[in-house]
């Protein structure tokens, strides 16, 4: 049962990565135009950035 002592921190760490990724994507304005961004992925010309206002 002591393996729990390793598993809990590991799971927290992985969860924390997910949270960090979420916060980054929020800060990078990736949620401002979900529909438009769907279509932009198919464009020939890429600007590689969301609106970034």
């Amino acid at each position: 049962m002591t393996v729990i002592g390793y598993l809990i921190p590991v799971s927290l760490f992985l969860g924390g990565l997910g949270l960090a990724a979420f916060i980054w994507s929020l800060r990078a304005d990736q949620y401002t135009d979900l529909e438009g961004d769907q279509h932009r992925a198919l464009f020939g010309e890429h600007d590689d950035r969301p609106s970034g206002e």
Partner: protein, 709 residues
């Protein structure tokens, strides 16, 4: 008229008819190709385009015109329409807290499941401590919005929904900590953080449906000219700020400019757009001796006028004051959620207190009493309420948005559900707006080339309508020389030495039939006439019938003359109508109806509807309306169909029904849960399950609003 705006501030236009992803690239490309445009970014989710321009670059009108060229309708986003979401700091803050709460809740839940599955003693304690480690910082951070709001309410001496919530969170943290340090069985860390998670979802949704403050009165002030041209005693012209105008001064107003002050015309003839007073955009000819008002648009000829009233004394200022008074006196809507909170909050506190006192007295054990009080607070917590109402508003708002109706604020939806009378404005609302050609010669008639050529020389709306129609049917304008516009009368030109005229019937010469509309004289000496009318929107009659079917009482109020109003009322099927109403009169009529106990929905589009729209219980205006109307109205609909009004009413009523159902579900849930909690039967497992269960049921019910047709 372009609004004054510092050129480097980004311009936002809404694109009501954009639908597909393929439109994005052409729009952005076309806009960035214009000189002076730095970037253009389309947002397909809320149908907007955001354009950054360099100083001296194109203004919103020019950009909208460019978009119209490639077939996209574009309108300027003013304070009149819902705010742009890109600069929404408060919303992002809520999502961040939501993310942290979600992360913590799920991790703690993992650990709690182990505990519920039968962890014992040391393992259980370890899991509890780890849960505490995760949950407590998250509760402190994510719960901040609730604590702040509760704090504000308490210092203000009142209770709101956030007080029992904050209490529940605090108590669950404290009692769970105590339990855990004593090696106890029940810890409510998971319930506490999950509560925050659900409530933050509700809060975020609520935030998105709340309006940005925008004042119609501010829009009106945009109509005031800032500069005027004064004619000094010696005849010279000089620029003068409107703030410096005084009664008795003589001014000159060029075509295309707005009148800077109230006054009387001393010289010149022209046509004026008097929408401010009559709501009619059909220009009225004016000549010396006529009274004119600040804010009116001078269309065709230069005028000289003598000032009678300036600044605060003008009609425009009067209307602005009426609008402002109406906006402030509107009375705070007692939202359903707030009504519920007023009963709920004290009730919950009393029950929790009773549980605590009762159990302590009965068992003498502080820990047990604390645990049960926590259980009571948590299980009665308004996950359902806090989630239901915002969800209903969000779903309703997006349902309306799908049909091209912009809802500014969830509260407006509740007001809409309460109305029992509908007041329609005529021009531009019930009708398409004036200047539609009602009758004209057939396209191959020789009158058309002549009329088209003459019409192109004038800015008069009727001339513009003729020119547009001519282009639409493909008529080539004849070659006419010496085109001269005679303000107030028409346009003249020469073909082969013969003077031809297009304009008022009495100026052009004897007309068969009445003096309505416009005549054109032909090279062979004959005459042809064009008449214009204000045609009803195609579904006006149908909409009025639907409104009546919903149990509402329609009426027509307009600034126009009796005959056209009676005709329109008859065609639309409205029994009650009032004509010749000035903006103040509309307001008085509204006040009268409201004194009778009616709740009125005002549907209007004009400058003269501003006060009425602001004062009515609920209001809607078309997107093509004046900015004043859009700013004053609670909902704005795009497109030609009046049917949006009845759709909005149906959605509002459905939303209200769903909200009440959600309250009922919450009440039933509480009726079952409270006795359970009071008797000490509730464990963290039950609390978590009950909270999730009630939230899911309530949200699913709220989603039914999507299906309103």
């Amino acid at each position: 008229m372009p609004l004054d705006r510092p050129p480097t501030e980004p311009i936002e236009l809404i694109l009501p008819s954009i639908s597909c992803g393929g439109c994005i690239a052409p729009i952005e490309r076309r806009l960035t190709a214009i000189e002076g445009v730095r970037t253009a970014r389309v947002n397909l989710s809320n149908k907007r385009v955001r354009i950054e321009t360099l100083p001296g670059g194109p203004d919103a009108d020019r950009l909208a015109a460019t978009l119209a060229e490639i077939g996209h309708e574009a309108r300027q986003l003013t304070a009149a329409l819902p705010r742009s979401e890109t600069r929404d700091a408060e919303g992002r803050d809520l999502v961040l807290r939501l993310g942290v709460a979600g992360f913590a809740a799920m991790n703690v839940m993992l650990l709690s499941i182990s505990v519920w599955s039968g962890a014992e003693a040391a393992t259980r304690d370890l899991l509890h401590w780890v849960s505490a480690l995760i949950a407590l910082p998250a509760m402190a951070y994510s719960g901040l919005p609730f604590y702040r709001s509760a704090g504000r309410a308490l210092t203000g001496g009142r209770l709101n929904m956030d007080v029992p919530i904050s209490l529940a969170i605090l108590l669950s943290a404290v009692s769970s900590l105590i339990e855990t340090s004593y090696g106890g069985q029940h810890a409510y860390f998971d319930a506490g953080i999950m509560l925050i998670f659900f409530l933050l979802i509700g809060r975020y949704l609520d935030h998105r449906t709340r309006a940005q403050a925008g004042s119609a009165a501010a829009e009106l002030s945009q109509l005031a000219a800032r500069m005027a041209v004064q004619i000094a005693a010696d005849g010279t012209r000089q620029s003068i700020a409107t703030a410096d105008l005084r009664p008795g001064m003589r001014l000159t107003v060029a075509p295309g400019e707005r009148i800077p002050a109230d006054g009387v015309i001393s010289l010149g003839q022209s046509d004026l757009d008097r929408a401010l007073v009559t709501g009619e955009s059909v220009p009225e000819p004016v000549s010396p001796g006529d009274t004119i008002h600040a804010g009116m648009l001078n269309l065709t000829g230069p005028l000289e006028m003598e000032v009678t009233a300036t600044g605060d004394g003008t009609l425009l200022a009067d209307i602005a004051r009426m609008v402002e008074a109406a906006e402030q006196g509107r009375g705070r809507l007692d939202r359903l959620a707030d009504q519920a909170a007023r009963v709920y909050a004290p009730g919950v506190h009393l029950v929790a207190l009773a549980a605590f006192v009762g159990w302590y007295w009965q068992s003498g054990d502080l820990l047990t009493a604390l645990g049960i009080a926590t259980a009571v607070l948590i299980i009665t917590c308004p996950c359902a309420l806090g989630l239901a109402v915002p969800t209903v508003h969000t779903v309703a708002s997006s349902r309306l948005f799908r049909s091209g109706i912009f809802l500014k604020d969830g509260g407006e939806l509740e007001r809409l559900a309460q109305v029992d009378t509908v007041a329609f404005d005529k021009t531009g609302t019930l009708t398409d707006g004036a200047s539609q050609i009602a009758s004209a010669p057939t396209p191959d008639h020789p009158a058309w080339p002549v009329a088209a050529a003459l019409a192109q020389a004038s800015r008069h709306p009727l001339a513009i309508a003729i020119a547009a129609e001519a282009e639409r049917v493909g008529v080539r304008p004849a070659r006419i020389s010496d085109l001269t516009e005679h303000p107030g009368q028409g346009v003249s030109g020469q073909i082969k030495g013969r003077e031809l005229r297009l304009g008022r019937p009495d100026w052009v010469g004897h007309a068969p039939g009445g003096s309505d509309g416009v005549l054109v004289s032909l090279p062979d000496g004959g005459r042809a006439s064009f008449t214009f009318s204000d045609t009803l929107r195609p579904d006006a009659r149908e909409t009025v019938a639907e409104v009546v079917a919903l149990g509402l009482d329609p009426c027509l109020i307009s600034g126009d003359a009796e005959r056209p109003v009676a005709r329109a009322a008859d065609a639309a099927g409205i029994a009650r109508w009032h004509a010749r109403l000035h903006p103040g009169d509309k307001l008085d009529l509204l006040a009268e109806m409201q004194a009778e106990g009616r709740r009125v929905l005002m549907v209007g589009d004009g400058l003269n509807d501003g006060p009425a729209l602001a004062a009515a219980h609920a209001s809607i205006s078309p997107a093509a309306a004046a900015d004043v109307a859009k700013a004053a109205a609670g909902l704005v609909f795009t497109g030609q169909r009046l049917g949006h009004v009845s759709l909005a009413l149906r959605v509002a009523r459905a939303a209200r029904r769903r909200t009440l159902e959600c309250f009922a579900i919450a009440a039933v849930y509480n009726a079952l849960a409270i006795p359970l909690a009071l008797s000490g039967q509730v464990t963290p497992l039950i609390a978590a399950a009950a909270m999730s269960g009630s939230s899911i049921v309530v949200v699913l019910n709220a989603l039914r609003v999507r299906n309103v047709t």
